[in-house]
Amino acid sequence: MEYKIKLGEKKAMRNAYGETLVELGRKYPNLVVLDADLSGSTKTGMFAKEYPNRFFNAGIAEQNMMGVAGGLARTGKIVFASTFAMFASGRAWEQIRNTISYAGLNVKIVATHSGITVGEDGATHQMTEDIAIMRAIPNMKVIAPSDYYETKNVIRWCAEYNGPVYVRMPRGNTKTIFSSEEDAKFEFGKARLLKEGNDLTIIATGELVPEAIKASKILKENGINAEVISMPTIKPIDEDAIKNSNDFIVSLEDHNIIGGLGGAISEVIATYGLNKKLLRIGINDEFGISGKAEELLKYYKLDGENVAKRIMKEYTKQ
């Protein structure tokens, strides 16, 4: 069923994370939260204020934080561990793999400040490989919510699910896709159809879903009817959504085009021998630069206008 898209006000997904943690803290007395000196930025500080006895700052020591998270999970806690995506997935990758995921421990790694839109901090802080490296770990689930409201439902799902999950979200305020939490239903492992269209399909994830919607509007003005799908769960990916899509697919992500959403979609296409062409739009295997998030989106041609232009250039009816 088609969803009537109306891009709303700009709201930060990480605020939704912090608010939902506070709510879940009431529901689950065994929920604990860890952070590595970034609780103000990741918004776990909201939980810390409400439940100081269930919040633990690990200091600037992400590897230890993941191990401590694992140990807490082994005593029956629901553990949320947060820091920037770079340090969560990069610095502590092997701790996540060997301590948490190998043992299937109940740890949710909620990483904020993912992608190029970290902005001014530049390449050292712009994590554009995390989907690839987290996706490759057995047992690990990978989710990138697309707006403030969906984030709330993703975090609630994380608390209910028993096992390791990696959630990535951007730093900035992004336009809401949905009008409310009820509207932003999250079904784990399922794509969400946002706009019907029978020429091509744009599959976007995370903060670039609004850009996909903008692109589809420009395309429509130019006589191309694009279907828009949001793919909040990247692992396991919704294979049916890809099988049922139009034969020209565009993947859109704030991540390297290698190994991320585009990589995951191409695996499905190749595995099932689908007769579909895939245009991967993302970061083209390069490091980022400093700048304002919105300017960087344009610089890397990830904004709706540039995405539409690129599609118009490359799209040919299949």
Binding site: N64, G67, T99
Partner: protein, 274 residues
């Protein structure tokens, strides 16, 4: 509760039996780490046979003491103890490291009695810190033990964990360093000198003890003392040990860090341990 002479003799006999199993299982596997398994055997035996509150029939009982083998490659000693105590069938020992077997090359929580997936050095220590924290949240009156290798202390994560355990005031956490002074590439002080580990842990705020890691009286008395000190500080015991302890040609021989005895060596070793 002090340990008496008979108990010490009993532990010695058990340790000898465990060492026999350790060497045999690694020999049959034709792969594994005899050196550190043998240096840590007495410590693991003392913990499971004398010091820890645990139940092989109920490995997950909530208030159990927990033991994390952070130097996961020395799991043959732990596996042998767990098997001897009935956590799983002893026949599993002879299938160590074989395709499809229960006993993996490094600890895995799928194995009854194993508390954490370890083997990548430094990581088990952090897990133990998290467990001690979790047990304290649950107001359990138990202890978490973690056994580290001395070479393992070259990992930065060890010091992150040491800092955290002090910060969180985990006096239910007792660490033991198996100070056998050898690592794969040679003497720890030549490869990457550890210097005075006691002073290093003291500087991180821990209460530190030093013992002979093959002297059951010292092991038991010191851990009992560490357990009793509820002063808001984690405890570290530097246990001086001999790598390959119990098998003449393996003792202090770096060649047996991660190499199984061949058939001939196995025969000789098992004879020595009979």
């Amino acid at each position: 509760m002090a340990i008496n002479i008979k108990e010490i003799e009993d532990l010695k006999q058990i340790a000898k039996k465990i060492r026999y199993d350790v060497v045999k299982m690694i020999g049959l596997a034709e792969s594994g780490h005899p050196g550190g398994s043998l240096s840590s055997t007495d410590i693991i035996v003392a913990l499971y046979y004398k010091l820890m509150n645990h139940d092989p029939k109920n490995p997950n009982k909530k208030d159990r003491d927990r033991f994390v083998l952070s130097k996961g490659h020395c799991c043959p000693a732990l596996y042998a103890v767990l098997a001897e105590l009935g956590y799983f069938d002893k026949d599993e020992l002879w299938k160590l490291r074989k395709t499809g077997a229960l006993l993996q090359g490094h600890p895995n929580i799928k194995i009854p009695g194993i508390e954490a997936n370890t083997g990548s050095l430094g990581q088990g220590f952090s897990v133990a810190v998290g467990m001690a924290l979790g047990c304290r949240i649950d107001k359990l009156n138990n202890n978490v033990y973690v056994l580290l290798g001395d070479g393992e202390c070259q990992e930065g994560q060890v010091w992150e964990a040491a800092m955290a355990a002090f910060h969180y005031k985990l006096d239910n956490l007792i660490g033991i360093v198996d100070r056998n002074k050898l690592q794969i590439d040679g003497c720890t002080e030549d490869v990457m000198c550890l210097g005075d580990l006691r002073e290093k842990f003291k500087a991180f705020g821990w209460d530190v003890f030093e013992i002979d890691g093959h002297d059951f009286k010292q092991i038991v008395d010191t851990i009992e003392k560490a357990k009793s000190m509820k002063n808001g500080k984690p405890k570290m015991i530097v246990a001086n040990t001999i790598k390959g302890k119990g098998v003449s040609f393996m003792e202090n021989n770096v060649g047996f860090h991660g190499k199984a005895p061949n058939k001939e060596e196995l025969k000789i070793a098992l004879k020595e341990l009979q």
